[in-house]
C-alpha cells in the first residue's frame, strides 16, 4: 500500500485509525486507516461488499466500530451519535423527507440547530440558489425530477456548514448525461465551499473525474490510496490495476534489470528497478500501445469495436496471450481475422 | 302486522290427511309416514344438549333408527326467517316462553299432535296446543353459604331489598323480566297479584336496590361465577346453574321462596320437513322416567308431574317443581304484550345515573 502525497499530516481534518467492524463471521472493515485533508475530496472506490459503505456509516455514526477511532478536527467522535457529529450527508436515494417541502427539507438541519427564522430563510435561500433551485421552495420532493431531488439533498447537506460532507453513491440513479453535469457541479461546489468531502462510489470513471485522491477498497481493506493519476498509472496491485480502467495484466519474473521474463518465455523491456528474480505484475493500459513500440506483440484480431474516438481491439497473440488494445479511430475499422502487430514502450509499462 | 302469509303445506297435508281419515285414530296408527334418515332438533346447546342426548336423543335413535341432528343456538329471528322463506331446517326447536306465544300469534308453529304426544299428566297451564312445555326453570336467590350461615340469608324479596339486615354486594339480571316482579313483591304486592305490572311502582322500588347491585348479569353462567369469585354474596339466577355448582360442592345454596317460574318449551316450526317424527320426539320428551334423567342432570324437571317420582331423593330438593306453591309463574302472555315496552323502560332506567 502506498500513501499519496495529497494529505499533509498536519492538515488532516478527518482521521480514521484502525477501524474494524465485523457482522457475525463477515469482516466488513479490517483495521482501516486513512486521513482526509481540509478541503480535500477523497473518493472511496470499491465493488459492492468491499466495506466502503460500512466505512461511511462509521464516519457518519450509524455504525459503531469494534475497534479503532474516528477523529474530526482533532476531536474523537467515535462514540458520538449521528446527530452530534455535524456531518452533512447525501444518501444513495437522497432520503428527502417526502412530506416536507423543498424549503422545509433544506431548513430541517437549521431548525434542529435552533437557528432563528430569518436566518433560516436567508441560508435556505442561499443554499437553494447555490444548487440552482431558487423558486422551487414550495414543491414536494415527489414533484421534482431525479436531478432536482439530488440538488435538494445536496443543499440540505451543506446548508448548515458541516465540518464534513459525505456522498454515498449519489449519482447512481441519474442518467449518464445528468450524472456528468451533476458530478461537475458537485465538484465545483465542493471546491468553492472548501468542504472536506468523502465520496463513495463503485464507478471508477466517476472516481477519476471527481477526486483529489482515491482510496480503493476491497474485502474490508484499503488496497491503495493515491492521487487519481497515480492510481491509474501506478496501481499497487492486481486488484487496483484491474478495477480502475481497462488493463492487460501479466505476471512474470525479473530476469535482469529492466527485463521481465513472462511464463511463455517472452521477455519484456520495462522501466523498473525491481531486483532480478523478483516476481512482478506487469500492467499495460490498452491505449498505451502504439505502432513502433519497443515491445512488439503480433496477434489476430478476435473482436473489433468502434467507439467513436478509438477502436477497441481484442487480439489473440502468439503463445495464447490475449491483449486489449485501443487505437485512434482513423480509417476503416480493422476486420476480425486480420493479423496486426502493436508495440509498447518500456516507460508505458507499469511494473508492480 | 301482516301474519297471513301463505305457507308450504304439502308436507303437512300428509299428516293432516292421515288424521282426517283416521276418525277412530288407532286403526290407522301404523300408517305412519316413511322414516327419514335424520331429524333436526334445535336447542340452546351446551350442557343442556348433553343432558338431552343422554335423556332423550339416544333412546329415540335406538327406538326408531332415525338420527337426531342437534343444532344451536335458539334464535327467534332465525325461526321467523325460516318459516317466512319456506326453507325450514329444524324439525323441532326450543323456544322461549314469550317467543312461543308470539310465534303462535305469527302463525309460525305447527300444532302438537295430541294423538302422538300424551300430556294427560301435565298441569292445565302447560297444555298449549302449539307449544310443548319441556321443562321448568326458575329465577331464585343464590347465596354464599360461608357468608350467610345457618339460614341467615334473605328468604324473600323484601329481605333481599333489606340491605341493612343483609349487607353485601348483589347481582341481578340485566332484564326487566323477574326484576319487575321481584320489586313489586318486595314492595308488598302478593305474588299472585303481580300482573299487570305497575311500572312506576316497580321501578321506584328498583331504584332502592340499584346502588347495591354490583353486576347486572346478562348470561346464565354469570351469577354462579360471580358468587364463586366472591364478586357478590347474593345473586339471582337460574336454578340449574346454581345446582350445577352445588353438585360440584361449591359454597352456594338456593332460596326457593318467591322464585319466578318459567317453562322451557319446544315447538314444531310450520313447514318442518318431518312433523310426524318431531311429534314422536315430543312424545319421548313427555316420558316421566326420561324427564327424571334430564332433571337429575341439570336441575330442570319436566312438567309431567309424575317425573318427580323417578328422581333420586337427594336430587328432589333441587328441583323447582318440588316448590311450585312457594313460587309464582312469570306471565308469558303479559310479556308477549308488554315486553317491548318493559324492555325500553328497563333500558332507560339502567341508563339513569344511580
Amino acid at each position: 500500500m502506498r500513501t499519496g502525497k495529497g494529505a499533509g499530516e498536519g492538515s488532516a481534518e478527518l482521521l480514521i485509525e484502525g477501524v474494524a467492524k465485523r457482522f457475525g463471521d463477515v469482516v466488513a472493515l479490517d483495521h482501516v486507516s486513512l486521513q482526509v485533508a481540509q478541503g480535500e475530496l477523497l473518493t472511496i472506490l470499491g465493488p459492492s461488499g468491499s466495506g466502503k459503505t460500512t466505512l461511511l456509516k462509521v464516519v457518519a455514526g450509524f455504525e459503531t466500530p469494534d475497534a479503532g477511532r474516528v477523529t474530526v478536527g482533532g476531536a474523537n467522535i467515535t462514540a458520538l451519535p449521528p446527530a452530534k457529529r455535524d456531518i452533512g450527508m447525501v444518501f444513495q436515494n437522497y432520503a428527502l423527507f417526502p412530506h416536507l417541502s423543498v424549503k422545509a427539507n433544506v431548513a430541517f438541519p437549521l431548525e434542529m440547530r435552533n437557528v432563528g427564522r430569518a436566518e433560516i430563510d436567508r441560508r435556505v435561500g442561499e443554499a437553494l440558489a447555490m444548487v440552482e433551485l431558487a423558486g422551487y421552495e414550495a414543491r414536494l420532493p415527489k414533484q421534482l425530477s431525479g436531478g432536482q431531488q439530488q440538488r435538494v439533498a445536496l443543499a440540505r447537506a451543506i446548508v448548515f456548514n458541516p465540518r464534513l460532507l459525505l456522498l454515498d453513491e449519489p449519482f447512481g440513479a441519474l442518467d449518464r448525461k445528468l450524472r456528468e453535469t451533476m458530478q461537475l457541479e458537485v465538484r465545483r461546489l465542493q471546491r468553492r465551499l472548501g468542504l472536506t468531502t468523502i465520496f463513495i462510489t463503485h464507478d471508477q470513471e466517476e472516481a477519476l473525474v471527481l477526486s483529489d485522491r482515491i482510496a480503493v477498497m476491497n474485502k474490508g481493506a484499503i488496497q491503495q490510496i493515491a492521487t487519481t493519476t497515480e492510481i491509474y498509472e501506478r496501481p499497487a496491485n492486481d486488484f487496483v490495476a484491474d478495477f480502475v480502467g481497462e488493463s492487460n495484466i501479466l505476471h512474470g519474473t525479473m530476469s535482469a534489470p529492466g527485463l521481465v521474463a513472462l511464463p511463455d518465455g517472452r521477455k519484456l523491456m520495462v522501466d523498473s528497478e525491481a531486483a532480478p528474480g523478483a516476481k512482478v505484475g506487469v500492467l499495460m493500459r490498452p491505449e498505451r500501445f502504439a505502432p513502433g513500440g519497443i515491445n512488439e506483440f503480433t496477434g489476430e484480431i478476435v473482436e473489433a469495436v468502434y467507439l467513436g474516438t478509438t477502436f477497441k481491439l481484442r487480439l489473440a497473440c502468439e503463445g495464447g496471450q490475449e491483449l486489449l488494445v485501443r487505437q485512434p479511430a482513423r480509417g476503416p475499422l480493422p476486420a476480425a481475422g486480420t493479423t496486426i502487430t502493436v508495440g509498447i514502450d518500456p516507460e508505458a509499462i507499469h511494473v508492480f | 302486522m301482516d301474519i297471513k302469509r301463505p305457507h308450504r303445506r304439502h308436507v303437512l297435508s300428509l299428516v293432516g290427511g292421515a288424521a282426517a281419515v283416521g276418525v277412530s285414530g288407532r286403526a290407522f296408527a301404523q300408517a305412519e309416514p316413511p322414516k327419514p334418515t335424520q331429524i333436526v332438533v334445535n336447542h340452546s346447546g351446551g350442557s343442556m344438549g348433553t343432558a338431552m342426548r343422554k335423556a332423550f336423543f339416544n333412546g329415540f335413535e335406538k327406538k326408531y333408527g332415525i338420527r337426531v341432528v342437534e343444532t344451536s343456538p335458539v334464535d327467534f329471528g332465525k325461526l321467523r326467517a325460516m318459516v317466512d322463506s319456506g326453507n325450514v331446517e329444524w324439525d323441532l326447536t326450543e323456544i322461549g316462553g314469550q317467543d312461543a306465544i308470539r310465534a303462535s300469534k305469527l302463525n309460525l308453529l305447527d300444532k302438537v299432535d295430541p294423538k302422538v304426544v300424551d300430556r294427560s299428566k301435565y298441569p292445565p297451564t302447560a297444555q298449549n296446543p302449539n307449544v310443548f312445555a319441556s321443562s321448568v326453570y326458575t329465577t331464585i336467590i343464590g347465596y354464599r353459604t360461608d357468608v350467610f350461615k345457618g339460614g341467615t340469608h334473605p328468604k324473600s324479596w323484601a329481605e333481599w331489598w333489606d340491605v341493612k339486615k343483609f349487607p353485601g354486594a348483589r347481582s341481578m339480571r340485566n332484564h326487566p323480566t323477574d326484576n319487575l316482579e321481584f320489586a313489586l313483591i318486595a314492595d308488598g304486592v302478593p305474588k299472585d297479584k303481580v300482573y299487570p305490572i305497575d311500572f312506576d311502582r316497580a321501578f321506584k322500588k328498583l331504584d332502592q336496590i340499584k346502588p347495591h347491585v354490583t353486576a347486572w348479569w346478562s348470561t346464565g353462567q354469570q351469577p354462579a361465577q360471580l358468587l364463586l369469585d366472591k364478586e357478590v354474596v347474593l345473586a339471582t339466577g337460574w336454578n340449574g346453574r346454581f345446582y350445577d355448582v352445588i353438585k360440584k360442592g361449591g359454597p352456594i345454596e338456593i332460596e326457593w321462596n318467591e322464585g319466578a317460574l318459567k317453562q322451557g318449551s319446544f315447538a314444531i316450526p310450520r313447514g318442518a320437513k318431518n312433523p310426524y317424527w318431531a311429534n314422536k320426539m315430543l312424545a319421548e320428551l313427555a316420558v316421566p322416567q326420561q324427564q327424571a334423567v334430564y332433571a337429575s342432570e341439570l336441575g330442570y324437571p319436566g312438567l309431567n308431574l309424575e317425573s318427580l317420582n323417578f328422581v333420586d331423593a337427594k336430587v328432589k330438593p333441587y328441583l323447582p317443581t318440588a316448590y311450585l306453591d312457594k313460587q309464582f309463574w312469570i306471565s308469558d302472555e303479559w310479556y308477549a304484550e308488554n315486553g317491548a315496552k318493559a324492555q325500553e323502560l328497563w333500558n332507560a332506567w339502567m341508563l339513569k345515573k344511580a
Binding site: 451519535p81 417526502p98 414536494l140 | -
Partner: protein
C-alpha cells in the same frame, strides 16, 4: 382506470354487491317498511336512544384513543426491532384474535375482579387497602375492548412504520435531529395513514361491540349494538332495529369522512 383493467375486479364487485350492498339495502328497506319515517323519529327523537348512541361513540372514541396510545409504541417497536422480537410481538398482539370473545372476556374477569389476580396482588403488596373497581363498570369495558381491538391498531401502524425508508430517519439523525424530534417531525407524519387506518378500524369495530360491554360492564355500559340485538332477537321489532342500524351506519360514515379529510390535509402539509 380503463374498462378493461376493471374486469379482474368483477368477482369481488359482485361479491360485495351480493353480500354487502344488497343486505344493506334490504335493511334500509325494513326501516321504512311502514311507509313512514316513524322509526327514525323514534331512534333520533327519544332521549334513551340518543343517550345510547352518544355512549357508544364516547366509548368507541376512548377505546380508539387508548388503542392508539398503546398500539403506536408497540407497532413502532415491532417494526424497528430485530426479527426475533418482532415475531414475539406479533404472537402477543395476535393471540387475542385466536381466542374466543368469551374466553378472553372471562380471563379479564378473573384478572380484574374484586378478588381477582390484580386486586389481590395490589392489596397484598400494600399498594391499596380496598379492591379497585376495575370490573362491572366503564373501566372494565375499556380494558376489555382495548385488549381485543389492539391488533387492529398495531398492524396498520406496524405496516406504516415498515414502509418508511430507514434512510429517512437516519438522514434526519445525521442532520442533527434528536430521537424525539425524529419521531415528531419524521415518523409521526409519515405514518399518519397507518394511524388513520388503525383508528378507523378500531373505531368502527368498537361501535358493534356488545358481548364485552355486557360482561365486563356489569350491565352499566350500554352500547347501541346491545339495543339493536334486543330489537332483533327479543322484541322482534326489525324495522326499528333497521332504523337504529341505519343511523349508526350514517354516523360511522360521517366520522370516517371527517377523519379522512383531517389526515389527508395533515399528510400533504
Amino acid at each position: 382506470m380503463t374498462t378493461r383493467a376493471a374486469w379482474p375486479a368483477l368477482p369481488a364487485l359482485i361479491l360485495l354487491l351480493v353480500f354487502f350492498l344488497f343486505p344493506v339495502v334490504r335493511m334500509l328497506g325494513f326501516s321504512v317498511e311502514a311507509g313512514t319515517l316513524d322509526w327514525y323519529a323514534k331512534a333520533l327523537g327519544e332521549g334513551l336512544y340518543l343517550r345510547v348512541f352518544w355512549n357508544t361513540f364516547e366509548i368507541a372514541l376512548l377505546v380508539t384513543l387508548f388503542c392508539l396510545l398503546l398500539g403506536y409504541p408497540l407497532g413502532f417497536l415491532m417494526a424497528t426491532t430485530t426479527p426475533g422480537w418482532a415475531t414475539f410481538g406479533f404472537i402477543c398482539v395476535l393471540l387475542p384474535l385466536w381466542t374466543s370473545v368469551l374466553v378472553r372476556t372471562y380471563a379479564w374477569m378473573v384478572l380484574l375482579g374484586r378478588n381477582g389476580v390484580l386486586n389481590r396482588t395490589l392489596m397484598e403488596s400494600g399498594l391499596t387497602t380496598d379492591p379497585l373497581p376495575l370490573l362491572h363498570n366503564f373501566t372494565g369495558v375499556l380494558i376489555g375492548m382495548v385488549h381485543v381491538l389492539l391488533p387492529y391498531m398495531v398492524l396498520p401502524i406496524y405496516g406504516a412504520v415498515r414502509r418508511v425508508d430507514p434512510a429517512i430517519p437516519a438522514a434526519a439523525a445525521g442532520l442533527g435531529a434528536s430521537s424525539a424530534r425524529i419521531f415528531w417531525r419524521i415518523y409521526l407524519p409519515l405514518t399518519l395513514n397507518g394511524i388513520f387506518a388503525g383508528s378507523v378500524l378500531v373505531f368502527v369495530l368498537s361501535l358493534g361491540f356488545f358481548i364485552t360491554p355486557a360482561l365486563l360492564g356489569g350491565g352499566r355500559v350500554m352500547m347501541i349494538a346491545v339495543l339493536i340485538e334486543q330489537q332483533v332477537r327479543e322484541t322482534l321489532n326489525w324495522p326499528f332495529a333497521a332504523a337504529l342500524s341505519a343511523v349508526l351506519l350514517v354516523f360511522t360514515f360521517a366520522v370516517y369522512a371527517v377523519a379522512q379529510r383531517f389526515t389527508q390535509s395533515e399528510a400533504t402539509r
